[in-house]
Amino acid sequence: MIRRTLRTTLLLVLVGLCADGHRARAQSPVSGVVTRADLEAAGIHRLSELMQWVGGWNLTVDGLSWSVSPDGLPTAALPRAGLPEWTLLVDGQRVDVAALGAWLPELAPTAVQQIDSVRVVRTPGIAGGAFTSRGVLHVFTRRAPAGVSVHTWIRTGGETGDPGPYLFTPHATANVDRTGADVVGVVGYGSQRWNAQISFREINHSMTDPRLIERYHTKESQSYTTAGGPAVRLEAEVLGGRHVLLLGHTDHVGFIFLPARGRMERSALTLTHVGATGSLALRPRTHAAYRLTRSGHLLGREPDRFPAFGTHRRSLSHASAELSHRTDAWWVRTGIGVDERVLRLEGVPESEQRIHTTLFGEVEHESSAAWSQRYAAALVQEGDRVGFRASASAIWQPDSARSLSGSFSAMQQLPDEGTAWMDARTVEEGRARPNPQRTLLWSEIVWQQELTRAIAWDIGAVYGSIAESRGAAGETASLSSGSSPDTLGGGRFGVRAGLSLDAPPHLRGRVLYHSIAPLAASEDLVQAMETIPDHLLQGSLTYTPVPNFRLGLLLDYRTSLGWRGRELSRVSGKEKIDPVSRVDLSIEKWLWMRRVHTQLVLRNLLNTPERYHPFGAQFDRRFFLGASVRLPHDRASAPQRLQERGLGR
């Protein structure tokens, strides 16, 4: 009763606050910006934790690997092959963090502590030299301040529920390990034209659920996962443009969840990323931009009697070039991008590869008083197959207190796009089947209005559909564990609503509500959608009474999930996952003229059952204690990159 009352009170506080003196802009349900201050106040210090802020349907087994479904389609953690996934961009460079059906953000060559802001786009469009079908998570890193700078950070924590002194009594229970320590170190140098950073990061993630430890821990293996490595970021303003070189090497040793097998697997995974991006001003209003990136994975596993996959290498190479021209109201760009995915299995001399070429174009017309419009189209070619994607969006009075926006996208997905064919070769060799060609539609409409100068709200509706066709051309395998020739098809309809509060310098908050349900969908899609919550409510409130002290409150509520046995072979029948209602609290204090930052984060404060997956851990109340030192001192400045264009697009 007390918990229910507290939850209701928190919700009322979140939605009822009002203030004057500053104009709030509601975060659009189709895209939004998460700033460094938002991340710090929420106690988010891992890229995997960032998934909580993405605002789509997200799913985790162990808190380290995540899947996100922004549109109601199955997540990558479901065995549904070939669906497009979210795209992760770091300073405009695509980083391939998907492996074996899992999304492992910790592979990315950057740490949360280096982030300046994150732009989250939930609709299809052109980004990173390609047409992204299901949204983009674009991470912009901070530039090093002028001169030499040093930033070190450490965090440790643990879950509650230890046996304590009862360890040697009849009341003894299973021990619960602590998690961490996570460490990040960055050395930087900044000047007018050059900016360089060398960083090293390491996270140590322990299984804290005794059931998982009992299931996977053996004498030969530890129950924790370590991820991290060095990264270099070099930015230069030379040759009439800005150029960024990003190098990173990440080792990920420990457990990852294999959706196709429905179990966690101890493995060693290495990501090496090399990328260069840049833009040049050809004329005052005409720019050229380029991207050259390569993300290479080496996946190996410890010897096992029944290995789920063999040692292999996979890589994604991308090259793109584009031209853009701007007038007062118009912005036009066109470009070409080439993606090459290569798979090399150990002991097999021949490697396999898929090459996709994308031609894209985009036109944008800006008007603050009337309609602003944007049209994008892309042709994707692989061999003799061609897929077509197009999107159109419009906003009425984007800069006024009331605005209306709408978008429509249509996409033809080729059978072998993405990583599914590689996953099938390495994990599901025995159960390969043709991969279908899919057509996806996505549309949405959003009304946004300011209530006061500090509070804004928005409401929107979305509709999406998917249709599959299995032609003779489909030759590659898929990751489906089902044996029936099922078809993922049909529609889904949803609503979104948001409320934003922005009353600097003291209060900042937001509440987001999402709901989506199948509409004339196939049985396959209906079952897939049961694995994501029907309703999701997320809220945050940041209170800064004085500049060097901040309190943060987070609320997360999601309805129950249902997993069918056919999706995961080890589950018989339908397993229900209870609703999750979580409240987090963060307390921050800066010391020594903002050179030192300390933070205490309490997650799942009310200790309610928190579980996302039938095989996943139950997360109890947990706490994290972090500290960082930044020299020279940390200026509480606005994000550097929000208004930048060119590299970010």
Binding site: G161, G164, P165, V546, F549
Partner: protein
């Protein structure tokens, strides 16, 4: 006991302004040392008997009320041969409100959050063999009075909930002396 502590603390905080004259944040330090004794009985006491412990407390004015860091150690002696000696080392951060109750007497009450580490040791060798730590939170109330100059007397009661699998509720009463001094400028610069 919990209810009495919470009601008393709430009454203390809501019955008037926190302080008659709020001092500048971090302007003064109040260092106290006290003896602490465990006054309630729970499942834990079926296996251990608590002995008198000690605590050290450093408090300073905060933006609202005051904040303090407390280190407390309490030894527990086993009641039977199957258990080991245990030392409970608690480190916690407090936030307190304070008001004048009577001339020369101030009431204090607030909340705390910290961690308790149970250090086991064999009865033959005074060597720690294992430790178990866990999060705790709770409330505290007390009274303070000035004895002479910057020296004062403080009597505090605190109730802690330790979030072990079987939660442990412990109530302590502590009595000791405190000494108040101006915060050194270098430390104040650091804290600000």
């Amino acid at each position: 006991v919990q209810l009495a502590l919470v009601v008393t603390m709430a009454a203390l905080l809501y019955s008037g302004p926190l302080t008659a004259q709020s001092p500048e944040p971090f302007s003064r330090l109040t260092v106290s040392a006290a003896a602490a004794t465990n006054v309630n009985r729970v499942l834990l006491h079926r296996y251990w008997r608590s002995d008198t412990g000690w605590l050290m407390r450093v408090a300073t004015p905060f933006y609202l009320g005051s904040t303090a860091v407390v280190v407390q150690t309490v030894p527990f002696t086993p009641r039977g041969p199957d258990q080991l000696d245990v030392d409970a080392l608690t480190v916690l951060a407090e936030w307190n409100g304070e008001r004048v109750l009577l001339p020369g007497v101030r009431g204090i009450g607030g909340i705390h959050l910290g961690q308790t580490t149970f250090k086991f040791r064999t009865q033959r060798e005074r060597t720690f063999i294992i430790e178990e730590s866990e999060l705790l939170s709770g409330v505290q109330i007390g009274v303070r009075t000035r004895l002479a100059g910057d020296v004062g007397l403080a009597v505090m009661a605190n109730h802690q909930k330790i979030f072990t699998q079987i939660p442990i509720h412990l109530t302590f009463v502590a009595c000791g002396l405190e000494y108040s001094l101006a915060t050194p400028s270098w430390l104040r610069t650091f804290l600000e």
